[in-house]
């Protein structure tokens, strides 16, 4: 891999947090900020030069950090195209170096920032717990995790784009219809619009039936080199295109929360695949909430911005329809298996392309789009945004 080189480095002074000896007692977050500032000074780069490049972060001694890569980029204002986190203990830096080198060698990014900091001797120091922005600037006001944040997205979306509860209801009802045809789905009982509208308000305007349902479950996928795959299957599914984007509009303090980064991710995916939205035979959008589906219909290019409500009204999104959406029932009805939830959409896309979706099989499903979202942003929508186009032979 002679096309990839190390072009800069930084290192902070070390401390054992002995305040009695005049040593600084800083947190991991502070060391991340320090390491980045030093790297920019040493290389002469500005932060904006790293926009759209790769970033790798490491796990910390704090087990609280479930969405740590999202926190780090949000704290630092980084806006990478490619973002990974290592949880390889002492091999963290090496693991990131290999992953970063692959990403550059493949031509996906031109730079890859490895940034790793930890403060094991400050674990009891104020501010050392992770997820500070939620603990300090949200929870004291009674936010209820993602439900509150998405309820505000939904309210703003309804206000800005004239969406009605029935639009969200149609997504919930159609996905339930798909789930009723999916033997693995958790919620299979068909729903009516009346039942949707009467489902209780959790965080107004967010209803119970706008929210995914947590389940226990597991998935696996196998990637192979094309020639070796022949030994395993005569129905290989190709990765025709993909795109990703993290922490969109990193500097903007007044983001439009009716948008996501899926627009940027999907544009990359369509370009790589040489395809258009109209080529897609199905759409498996990440669906932690109904409003996420609505926003992504727009951002993946199936209709224009703000037209999602009207599009849903006029389009049959069932497995027999014009644009089949979340044919497994999605996380809203099949279930969200915790942090593994996003496997559902990829596995369903593979099943559809292989023609193995049983009663919910989409006709001629030889190509389709999958998306994934992760990590809710402070005052925004999602930190992580992915689009993947899969296709059959």
């Amino acid at each position: 891999m002679k096309d990839v080189v190390i072009s800069g480095y930084s290192e902070t002074p070390f401390s054992r947090a002995r305040v009695d000896k005049g040593e600084p007692r800083l947190t991991a977050e502070e060391y991340y900020a320090w390491a980045l500032e030093l790297l920019l000074q040493n290389t002469g780069l500005e932060k904006k030069d790293l926009k759209g490049q790769g970033v790798g972060v490491i796990g910390s001694e704090w087990p609280h950090s479930e969405i740590w890569s999202a926190e780090v980029v949000q704290n630092l204002g980084l806006e990478p195209k490619f973002l990974v986190r290592a949880d390889h203990g002492g091999a963290n830096a090496a693991a990131l170096l290999v992953q970063g080198a692959f990403a550059i060698h493949a031509g996906f990014v031109e730079h890859f920032l490895l940034i790793g900091a930890d403060a094991p001797l400050s674990i009891t120091a104020p501010g050392s717990r992770t997820w500070r922005y939620e603990e300090d600037y949200m929870k004291p006001f009674g936010t209820m995790g993602p439900n509150s944040m998405i309820a505000m997205v939904m309210r703003r979306y309804m206000h800005q784009h004239n969406a009605k509860p029935e639009h969200f209801g149609k997504i919930s009802i159609t996905q339930r219809q798909h789930a009723s045809l999916n033997p693995n789905a958790y919620l299979k009982k068909p729903l009516t619009m009346e039942e949707y509208l009467n489902s209780r308000l959790i965080s107004d305007p967010l209803r119970l039936l706008d929210i995914c349902i947590w389940v226990n479950g597991g998935f696996a996928l196998l990637l192979s080199r094309r020639d070796r795959a022949k030994e395993i299957t005569d129905k290989p599914v190709s990765i025709l295109g993909f795109g990703e984007w993290h922490n969109p509009e990193a500097e903007n303090q007044l983001k439009d929360i009716t948008t996501t980064g899926i627009k940027i991710a999907a544009e990359q995916a369509y370009k790589m695949a040489g395809k258009r939205p109209s080529d897609m035979k199905f759409f498996q959008p990440y669906d932690d909430y109904t409003v996420a589906v609505l926003m992504q219909l727009e951002e993946a290019g199936f209709c224009s911005k703000g037209e999602g409500g009207r599009f849903i009204e006029q389009t049959d999104i069932s497995h027999r329809g014009d644009l089949p959406v979340n044919t497994s029932g999605g996380q809203l009805s099949a279930g969200q298996a915790g942090m593994a939830g996003g496997f559902l959409h990829i596995v369903e896309a593979v099943r559809q392309i292989r023609g193995e979706a049983g009663e919910r099989q989409v006709k001629d499903a030889n190509i389709g789009l999958v998306t994934a979202l992760g990590g809710l942003a402070f005052g925004g929508t999602f930190i992580h945004n992915y689009a993947i186009i899969l296709g059959g032979e």
């Binding site: 980045l36 704290n75 104020p126 501010g127 006001f141 206000h159 308000l201 500097e251 303090q253």
Partner: protein, 139 residues
């Protein structure tokens, strides 16, 4: 005095000036000494230029409701909030160009509207912490 049982922000070296100002009835936000970018939530560096040289500046406390939700059920936060149900959690856009999460108080939740003009008011929770909340602005 009965103890305040809802979650409270942690006072750190970074946020001490913020909570001291709140005690005085002043709302402060971070401004970058290098590029003048203003940001909320408080961080250890500037999200615009990555400089660690940040200062606190006093803001007007005036803003608008960007979006809001009415909490109808307590899930994933202290049961202490149960007695406040229904209450408004909102995104407030300050005149200075930053967005905060807070509560809109002093008004019936059903009368809160997107775009409503609001101003800061402090709720004294403990001797150390007063939380910045928002009430309809006087016209």
């Amino acid at each position: 005095m009965t103890g305040y049982a809802k979650p409270l922000p942690e006072i750190t070296d970074l946020t001490k000036p913020l909570w001291e100002a709140s005690k005085r009835g002043e709302l402060v936000i971070q401004k970058c000494k290098k590029c003048s970018h203003m940001q909320w939530y408080p961080r250890h560096s500037c999200v615009n230029c990555a400089s660690r040289e940040m200062e606190w500046i006093k803001v007007s406390g005036k803003g608008r409701v960007y979006s809001f939700t009415i909490a109808r059920q307590v899930i994933g936060n202290s049961p202490e909030f149960q007695k406040d149900i229904p209450f408004v959690v909102a995104e407030i856009d300050l005149e200075e160009g930053v967005r905060l999460y807070s509560n809109v108080v002093g008004v019936n939740p059903d009368d809160v509207k997107i775009g409503m003009q609001v101003e800061v008011t402090f709720e004294e929770c403990t001797p150390e912490i007063s939380l910045p909340k928002f009430k309809p602005a006087k016209t």
